[in-house]
């Protein structure tokens, strides 16, 4: 027993916290990458995540595309959709204040959510995850605690979410911080004019970055499809929290976003045990405290 709570119960709650953190990580990563490169606050990120879930459902319902193929195809389709948005709309706003990008993407949210609600209703659609992921497994904790009776129930699908998110986060971090392409990206963020002088196609880089960020949101949408009802508003409920996560971590910091996401998932989990009514404000309370003490965020650079 820890804090009057059985260990198996606490372990599972923390596990759920990590799984929620995994969603925060995937989404805040995309936001951070987009903000770092384009200086655009992508308010449409939640709607793009929702579209990922709807695309997964549509693929299965009308084209017979399995969950596994969706994991690959949906991010590609969403990425192309993102590229289209960037080329057609966002690129006109780079010289203007942040606010214009935010307003444009917010407008996109209203249009996308409205169209989806009109087409599919607001109650949500059912999606059956692959049988492989159904149910849960028991995991013995006796090796850890010495007590034969200590065990933990691990829902398979949620375990998969954590694994998939961690792999993708590490891959993204590696690509940006450790590869040549990533170094172009970082350099173009610092000084686009100079990088262009070296013969790097900066506008293309920007377009691809936005497409990649949107693809990440689409991937998170596929993961969510197996977990919850697919509704037109699933993104807007989540994205506000993700924005708070990004602010706490520090705008534009890749590693900061990832670490903050998982940590806040855990904080939320503990709040859900201690005082459930506060579970969706705790992150905002932390955001206020961080903004008061470190305005650039925990991992952000002071401007």
């Amino acid at each position: 027993m820890v804090f009057d709570v059985p260990l198996s119960f606490l372990a599972l709650q923390l596990f759920i916290g990590l799984q929620n953190g995994a969603f925060y990580a995937l989404l805040s990563l995309g936001l951070a990458v987009i903000f770092g490169m384009l200086n655009v606050i992508n308010f449409a990120h939640g709607a793009q995540y929702m579209l990922g879930a709807f695309a997964t459902w549509l693929g299965l319902e009308y084209l017979g595309i399995s969950y596994w193929w969706s994991l690959l195809l949906v991010p590609i389709v969403l990425g192309l959709f993102g590229i289209l948005i960037e080329r057609a709309l966002l690129r006109w706003l780079y010289d203007l204040d942040h606010l214009y990008g935010l307003l444009l993407t917010f407008g996109l949210v209203l249009i996308i959510e409205g169209l989806v609600t009109d087409g599919f209703g607001s109650s949500g659609l059912p999606y059956d995850k692959p049988a492989l992921f159904a149910g849960s497994e028991r995991l013995a904790l006796s090796g850890l605690t010495g007590n034969e009776r200590d065990f933990m129930v691990v829902p398979i699908y949620r375990l998969w979410i954590i694994v998939a998110a961690v792999i993708l986060c590490i891959a993204t971090w590696y690509m940006i911080e450790r590869t040549r392409l990533g170094s172009y990206l970082r350099a173009a963020t610092e000084n686009p004019a100079l990088v262009r002088a070296f013969g790097v196609n900066v506008p293309l880089l920007i377009t691809l970055t936005y497409g990649f960020g949107v693809a990440l949101a689409g991937f998170a949408g596929v993961l969510a499809a197996g977990l919850q009802a697919i509704t037109p508003h699933m993104g807007s409920n989540l994205i506000i929290v993700v924005f708070a996560v990004v602010v706490i971590g520090g705008m534009g910091s890749i590693l900061g976003s990832i670490i903050t996401s998982f940590a806040l998932g855990l904080v939320e989990a503990i709040t859900r045990i201690a005082y459930p009514e506060a579970s969706n404000i705790v992150i905002f309370v932390i955001m206020i405290l961080v903004l008061l003490t470190r305005p650039a965020g925990l991992f952000g650079r002071e401007a």
Partner: protein, 417 residues
């Protein structure tokens, strides 16, 4: 600046409202003396459908309720006392403040005589107060809280389709009598959830059961894992879901991950609509008990009405949408009977007429504004039993009106003491 302007508008509106109220009370008195009938304000009757057009409850009410209102006006003949009937509608976004200011605007500047649907309990409570203050009829079909005809009742407020008491009475009683005598509640943290949880708790205790614990979740929520685990840890036989719409859907969907039903606990969805079952799929929903005020497949009349609705809306109606049809039809009949659209006179007429239409058979309106009619305890079919889309429910029991709804004398409403 904006705040000041809003405040000034609100103050102005309420002063104006008070004078309208005074004037119409005077008019009613004058009318009673001289017995002049056929007095309609603005030479028409205007009905406002205030609902959730795009968020979580849009499928249960929303456009479908507007359609049902049009159907009622059409079936009534398109005019009342020789004057036209108009319909307006608006989205309240499930926010009580938006709903209340829209209601004031409608009444003050557009001559709206009656407001209906009002899904979401916090919205319904706020708009019923606006109706009381401005002398207008409100007919709640969407919201559930029994406070509307209890402590917060209004002489001009009517509650039509269902309420938390009748849901609690239907599902709660049935479950306890089947041996489900220990409960844990997962409750949406706002007026509706609290009201439903309270009413079910009373029923459980009255039948000798016990409530082991309660958790209040933010509205809306998409992840119920943590709350479900706490329910599981409580060891209660029944996990009562005192929430609605996508919250209930997500909770039921996620319960299967943790083996809650396999572990011997059962879920009770305390407010479920046919659209929720459609959204969950029968695989996830089969076997659930639910209480409903109406189902499309009750008899030839309901099937015909539902087919007419489906031809326009592309889906079967919920009890809220049919309830809105019934409320609007009853309102128009009452205006005709009273010979005026003055709220006090119409309210009196409504309370004196039985309700007989596709929604209710022999319904009566209690002094506290509650329309009592038969409710149905239903069980969700298995995929094998269902003949296809929308064939979802077996009606297990018809609960007679007098049993389904609370005795008005015990409701806590001052009008029915």
């Amino acid at each position: 600046m904006l705040r000041k302007t809003l405040l000034a508008t609100a103050l102005g509106a309420s002063v104006f409202g008070a004078s309208v109220f005074g004037a119409s009370v005077f008019a009613a008195g004058a009318m009673a003396q001289s017995a002049i009938a056929a007095e309609l304000s603005d030479d028409m009757v205007k009905i406002g459908v205030l609902t959730d057009m795009a968020a979580v409850y849009a499928d249960l009410s929303g456009d479908g309720s507007v359609l049902a209102t049009h159907m009622a006006v059409e079936d009534f003949g398109g005019s009342v006392l020789g004057k036209p009937i108009e319909i307006v509608s608006a989205d309240h976004q499930n926010k009580a403040d938006i709903a209340a200011s829209k209601a004031r605007e409608w009444i003050d500047t557009q001559g709206v005589d009656m407001i209906t649907d009002l899904v979401t309990s916090s919205v319904a409570l706020a708009v019923q107060e606006v109706g009381r203050e401005k002398n207008r009829i409100t007919m709640v079909t969407g919201a559930a809280t029994s406070r509307l005809t209890g402590e917060s009742c209004s002489p001009l407020g009517f509650h039509w389709a269902y309420d938390t008491y009748s849901l609690a009475n239907g599902t709660g009683t049935a479950v306890v009598k089947n041996g489900g005598d220990t409960w844990f509640f997962i409750t949406a943290d706002y007026a509706f959830g609290h009201s439903l949880e309270g009413d079910v708790s009373n029923i459980v205790k009255a039948n000798g059961g016990e409530v082991l614990g309660t958790i209040r979740h933010p509205f809306p929520s998409s992840d119920f894992a943590s709350f479900l685990l706490q329910a599981q840890a409580s060891g209660a036989k029944i996990v009562g879901l005192a929430n609605a719409g996508s919250d209930t859907i997500n909770a039921i969907k996620q319960a299967s991950e943790f083996g809650i039903v396999e572990g011997g606990q059962n879920l009770a969805g305390l407010l479920m609509f046919v659209t929720d079952i459609h959204s969950l799929g029968l695989n996830a929903a089969q076997g659930l008990f639910m209480t409903t005020g109406w189902y499309w497949d009750l008899n030839d009349e309901t099937r015909a009405w539902a087919a007419r609705f489906e031809a326009e809306a592309g889906k079967k109606p919920t009890m809220i949408q049919v309830g809105t049809y019934s409320a609007v039809l009853s309102y128009l009949k009452a205006v005709e009977k009273a010979g005026t659209d003055e709220a006090g006179a119409v309210a009196e007429a409504l309370k004196s007429m039985p309700v007989n239409d596709v929604f209710a058979n022999g319904g009566t309106v209690y002094p506290n504004g509650r329309m009592a009619h038969d409710m149905y305890l239903a069980q969700v079919k298995t995929p094998g039993e269902s003949a296809g889309d929308w064939d979802y429910l077996n009606i297990v029991r018809t609960i007679p009106a007098a049993e389904a709804f609370q005795d008005p004398a015990k409701s806590g409403c001052a009008l029915s003491q």
